[in-house]
Amino acid sequence: MTDQTLMWRIAGGSGDGIDSTSQNFAKALMRSGLNVFTHRHYPSRIRGGHTYVEVRASNEPVRSRGDGFNFLLALGDSFARSEQDGAYYGNEKVKPLTESLADLNEGGVVLYDTGFFEEADIAEIRLEERAEENGWHVYPMDLRGLAREHGREVMRNTAGVGAAAALLGQDTGYFEELVREAMSGEVMEANLTILEMAYEQASEFEFSHDLRVPTGGHDTDQALMSGSNAIAYAALDSGCRFIAGYPMTPWTDVFTIMSQNLSEFGGVAEQVEDEIAAASLAIGASHAGVKSMSGSSGGGFALMSEPLGLAEMTETPLVLVEAMRAGPSTGMPTKTEQADLEHVLYTSQGDSNRVVFAPGNLEEAYEQTRTAFQVAYDYQIPAILLYDQKLGGEMRNVDVDFFDREPDPSLGATLTEEEISEAAHHESGKFERYRHDPDDGVSPRSVPGQTGGRFLASGNEHNAVGHISEDPDNRKAQMDRRVRKLERVRAELDDSEHSHQTHHGPADADLGMLVWGSQQDTVFEAVDRLNAAGHEVKALGVSDMLPYPETEVRGFLESVRECVVVEMNATGQFRGLTQKELGQYGEKLASLLKYDGEAFEPGEVVEGFESSIDGGQPAAGNMRFVPAAGD
């Protein structure tokens, strides 16, 4: 596949428009009929610091970042700090070039801005020599000068795109179209001129490289979007009309999308003082009869621990999303990790009673967010969507038809006034909102303002009408009923036509890989490559974290001799969960771990798996292999 794949990286500094330029580039390629996938890397800094986005494009499906990349557009960091003796950050100015070159594949193409990188910089990093050694094809161009001459300096991104298009044999039609859609007047004219001039100027190079944009075609209309888009859109299509939150990277994306659209959808978005308030507001709105959500990343989610328990105890339907980033504590705010699994499963006092899904890709993020709302309202239980910086931020093309769904505004187990009048009441007139007897554990609720539905919601243990009670028999009955709900959710998920778990690879393979959440499609690509290379491997991508899909995972593990659990954390949290839930397989489960902030590349998984077969540590990257017990 690699031969027909373009892996294009645009590198600059934060604030240089790298993200928006890459989105336009990806969209243009999508419109030209290619499948695209983006990978974002950025620092926790408003201005400056090496930032890049990779766009992988192919006429084959692309569902992961690639191994390295093969085209570099190096624009330079306009907000770099000055180099000083003793300062650990070195020469920031040249990092978009130097740090990117470290990952550039052999035979790759380098297009860099001579208006930014001076001769001394190029000499300092020995570009010529290294290009010789690695077979790189280097094209220096004064993008900045060109932008300045025909417009403004910030338009050097446009110049870069025009020049890249020329070098890749792509005509500029789709790029022009996007400029015309997004801009108007003089700015549009200047950008169009710069695009064309850069294209012409780059066409004058004598091309020494063979890399070209592949050609492709889509049978159906495509949309380019991120995992965060999919989560927010699923919430809107689920009838969610209330969100409360506090900004925190990377959850802010979902919060922003919801806040920008909720008023148009007849809902309410609240930015509040902290995450304790955010989760509490979502509970208040849900209690009052509006489908509600909140969310955060690890640190903010920690503040939501107590409200989460309140939702469990009062059985207030609630959907939370948790966008993981590298921890502990503030960790690495803009880097990905899967280390909040245990945090999300168990936080808050008492026995936890919640549902947790970890989708493996964009479509799963949409589907499972919808399921989260359905389960939360049908079972009056908090449902948490656990994802990460990678899934939230990566963009992909997806069939437009995928979103052609019916909205689901159902409040689940909530009664109308008419139903309340027929429901059981205490002799005092209070509605029995927390009855012991429902088989499925779900005792339907009323909503404030409904005639005859009065009850007390309390975080204290309570009786059928909600009043505080420490009676042992009542306590046991209420606990049993609440726990029963989770078992019913498990049964419903098990019976569902569409399992959240995804199998990949030959069914009769006797080696396995288990993966959860955002690393899924990368592992699946690795599985394809391993099988092509003669191994017999299959993988299971697991999304249901709680209730854990015992039957499916047990079936998978029984069918393989050995299994590597691939996850982005240092302690093998999902492997631990699997052993806890299944009560065995310690001797069968090994771990391939990565926790350096950079998502797995498919090639790394291949290498990690191959070396693990030999019982050794992977040589490349920052991976760590932990053998199965007894090995």
């Binding site: 009309r241 304790i276 709105a285 205490h426 005092s428 975080g459």
Partner: protein
């Protein structure tokens, strides 16, 4: 026709409707000031014309938090310090509800101080009653945010070295549009103030002095009390922010010198509530969001409204 038929119901209301048949008697200690809040609230409801079914009382944790157990309405006994965020969201979800929040001084001025500040700032149309007994009662007598400087307790064995919180000053500076202090020992004034607070279209904060005879002062220590509206010493224009600030400061200081000053300290009837502000700028629909879920109607789809921008 409203989906919530209890909301806006026009009928005679008897204050006994607010006594829950399932738990008619409170567990508060004999002589506790909390009884005064309960009685004043029950008395105020018929006057403001709101029924138990259209009222949501959200409480925090502590003796004060049990108010929702002894007051018949929709109730939400939430978490320590978090009554306000729960309550204000319910108001946004269904503005027709009469939303009242209540908690103690530790709840509102300590652990929930951040929410207090921000809810006042946003000026939600709701009432917040703070049972101020200058002590942590239910946990057995520890120093609270309003305990006087030098207060000794098991957790402050050498006496508190902190100045107490100034609740009304904090409220005013944060943006509350109605601020009053009353006392359990003055039931007539308490009920009048509660009526005004509930009728006020904005965030109404009542610092309610509730004696804790078990761990702190008994009722006698709040007598005599002075109603600043009846006092010759004060000629307060409650619409004047500067005068209000000065008078609050006096009242807060003198409480610790044994002088109990109560009454209305600040009232701005013109400031729009948060809900009004949000509706005016199109951020919140005119119809209560909660009603949609019970009515037939089309729901917006992302497929129709948002997907195009991604193609």
């Amino acid at each position: 026709m409203s989906t919530f038929t209890a909301i806006g119901e026009d009928r005679e209301i008897d204050q006994e409707e607010f006594t829950p048949g399932v738990e008619p008697q409170a567990t508060w200690c004999p002589g506790c000031g909390d009884f005064g809040v309960l009685k004043a609230l029950k008395g105020a409801m018929p006057e403001v014309g709101r029924t138990p079914d259209e009222t949501l009382l959200v409480t925090g944790i502590g003796c004060s938090g049990k108010l929702s157990s002894y007051f018949e309405s929709y109730g939400f006994h939430s978490i320590h310090g978090r009554a306000l965020p729960v309550a204000r969201a319910a108001k946004l979800a269904n503005p027709g509800l009469e939303v009242i929040a209540a908690g103690g001084d530790g709840d509102g001025y300590g652990i929930g101080g951040n929410h207090f500040m921000h809810t006042a700032r946003e000026n939600h149309d709701m009432t917040y009653i703070v049972f101020n007994n200058e002590i942590f009662g239910l946990t057995k007598g520890q120093t609270s945010p309003t305990s006087p400087k030098g207060h000794e307790s098991k957790t402050q064995p050498h006496g508190s070295a902190k100045d107490p919180v100034r609740p009304m000053s904090l409220s005013l500076a944060s943006g509350a549009s109605y601020v009053a202090r009353t006392a359990a020992v003055n039931p007539r004034q308490a009920q009048e103030i509660l009526v005004e607070a509930i009728q006020h279209d904005g965030f109404a904060h009542i610092d309610f002095l509730t004696q804790c005879p078990t761990w702190n002062k008994d009722a006698k220590e709040y007598v005599p009390y002075t109603d600043i509206q009846d006092s010759d010493e004060f000629d307060l224009d409650t619409g004047d922010r500067r005068e209000a600030a000065e008078t609050m400061y006096e009242a807060e200081s003198r409480l610790y010198e044994g002088e109990v000053l109560t009454g209305r300290f600040y009232h701005d009837p013109d400031r729009p509530s948060y809900g009004e502000e949000k509706r005016a700028q199109g951020d919140v629909p005119e119809e209560p969001v909660a009603e949609r879920y019970f009515e037939d109607g089309e729901w917006e789809r992302t497929a129709d409204r948002l997907i195009d921008r991604h193609t």
